[in-house]
Symmetry: C2
């Protein structure tokens, strides 16, 4: 065992890693969506999810302003869309239009569900904690939604065998497990 840089060790952490889409609204109700890899479950009862969001992100502003967000799980059919929603270059575009996402209203929060995703979780902000250049937002899940047509989950994948890359741009490599 040898001591290495965080970056070097991290390559053994993040592949494979499920990614999600996070939707939110600003105070005027304008919706926004971003791709996020930093998320986890945080409570059984009541059910909660946690996400870490960069402090300079639109999503950070929105959740801070409204206390609401949706976490949606994209499937294999949304590889390109998930890549697009993770690119800072598309930050000022209407990503819902860009990706052909309908904005189905949820039952409890204003942030839209993404109908094309495998599953969506409506979250009300329960607590938050500073984490360096990000903030960890903990959301209590108020409602869960499932697509009637299950798909393979979309993952951040490496170049090893066993995976099929579906959308690649620079260091970002999204794909699925081969069957």
């Amino acid at each position: 065992m040898k001591q290495v840089s965080f970056k070097e060790a991290m390559q053994y952490w993040s592949k494979p890693e499920r990614i999600v889409l996070v939707t939110s609204c600003d105070e005027e109700g304008n919706p926004f969506v971003m791709t996020a890899g930093w998320k986890m479950r945080a409570s059984f009862k009541p059910p909660m999810l946690a996400i870490a969001v960069g402090k300079n992100r639109t999503t950070h502003q929105n959740i801070s302003a409204t206390g609401e967000f949706v976490v949606a799980v994209p499937g294999a059919d949304l590889a390109k869309e998930a890549l697009d929603c993770g690119m800072p270059s598309s930050n000022d575009q209407d990503r819902f239009e860009l990706c052909g996402f309908s904005k189905k209203p949820g039952s409890f929060v204003k942030a839209p569900l993404i109908e094309k995703c495998i599953a969506s979780f409506e979250c009300k902000l329960y607590g938050q904690v500073d984490s360096g250049d990000h903030t960890v937002f903990v959301g209590e899940v108020k409602a869960a939604w499932l697509n009637e047509h299950p798909k393979k989950p979309l993952l951040i994948v490496g170049e090893e065998k066993g995976y099929e890359a579906l959308a690649v741009e620079g260091p970002y490599r999204l794909g699925i497990v081969n069957t």
Copy 2:
């Protein structure tokens, strides 16, 4: 899209999901290890990791008392060990002995590194937030360690094709991606 229970939607969240081992010490320096699935990155600069730990867990007491923990990434060779360290039934045993884990001291924290793991991250508690029946602990990574012999990462897997199950007990199914 239909509204479902959290539990039903969650099956599309957690497989595959990387698992980790979390080590900690009590105030007398007695080490403890548990398996955890609820973890994420939380900051680039400085590097941080977040874990969600059940409030009644020994790990929760230890981190609350000492403000330190280690997150270690097990490989395919530690499937049975990871399962054992996740079982409440082994809570009162010396899991390090049970699993043949050496307790290599870290450079910055008293919680031990696990030499057999792929990578280990020494964390100092940076902040925490209540999350229902868990607490989210955010740790700043003070040092990262890598095993010289990389292995395939151990995952919580489903019964779909594409995975090889290596250790199964009740609902817990640990394995790897097939190549």
